[in-house]
Amino acid sequence: MAFRDRLVATLRAVAPVLEEPGVLVVGSEVPNLLEPGAAATLVVSQDVDIGVPLERHAAVKEKLALLRGLRPSPEEPSVWVPDDPGLLEVNFVGMDSGRDLTETDLLEDERLPLLVFGPLALLRPAPVPMFVEGLTVPLPRPAGLTLEKLVTDRTGEKGERDLLVALGLLMLSKPEDLDELVVTYRSLSPELKHAVRSNLTILSMMKRHAQMPDPEPERGRVAALLSRLDDADEGGSR
């Protein structure tokens, strides 16, 4: 079964949750969905991340009973695992638009506990949802998600894959998305600005990973963004 088919089938399976206002598909599947025709050729990932605003947590829990083909992992109930090999794993994560970007916390709940990631406060819904094979898929604006990937501190293979997801988003960003990214960057703390620029330099040096965007031919794009951020920084966080 083609990866795109599994992605679309999974989105169909979680459609009742996606209908809840404020819920967003976040993470590595976003570049796939932003490709023309949601071609899903950029990033091969085995899960779909669903961002749940804290104020919609109760409403989302109500919708969980409507999900088909997925069930909560016994060890980790914020992760829903597929019963059907034609589906991908689904990870629910908490979003709190008012949260400090450096604070990550746990929302305890019997049915749907959530890790609430501070950097997800950078996400803003795209003005128009994506329509994929009859499904309405709410996505974040690329600028906020790119920055979220660049400020989130992760290590090892997961960290490198996150940077390559950021690269995929940059490859699909329009000039106005990059303008928005620079404006949002200006609002970050010096420490987070440094994290963004540091991660861009790491991205620029990275080798190719299988089934991920190739950083080598995109180094010029990364350098151009880094130059804009250097200029925006006025030396404050260097």
């Binding site: 980790e76 990550t104 305890e108 330099t201 040096m205 180094r219 350098a223």
Partner: protein, 115 residues
């Protein structure tokens, strides 16, 4: 509380603490790797060159990147136009990354991405 989530949360908080420490150290020796990557991120190409050729470039007025002087042994890193880099006798192009050929070189001519 989910033990798995609790472990993940503790791991995230520990990494954030390390990152904050690294940020505070950024102007000291710990920050040299960022400064070196930052120079390389702006380079489209890199050429390992003989030290005598690096001296000629400096005599021509090209400026060395300060981060090169922070390394031990010191490394001369100089941005030059592409045509000048390719004309350097003995220049050997290497990948623009922190690879062995780059790290072992004492002098490297770099070509900046076009603005």
């Amino acid at each position: 509380m989910s033990e798995v989530l609790k472990r993940r949360l503790n791991g995230i908080r520990a990494r954030l603490a390390v990152r904050s420490w690294e940020y505070r150290q950024r102007h000291l020796s710990h920050g040299v790797w960022f400064r070196l990557r930052h120079v390389l991120a702006h380079a489209s190409r890199a050429f390992v060159i003989p030290e005598v050729e690096a001296a000629k470039l400096l005599a021509e007025g090209y400026e060395p990147e300060p981060v090169g002087q922070e390394l031990e042994p010191e490394k001369t890193l100089i941005f030059v136009p592409a045509e000048r880099a390719q004309a350097i006798p003995g220049a050997r192009e290497v990948d623009v990354r922190l690879s062995a050929p780059f790290l072992e070189a004492r002098a490297v001519a770099l070509v900046r991405f076009p603005a």
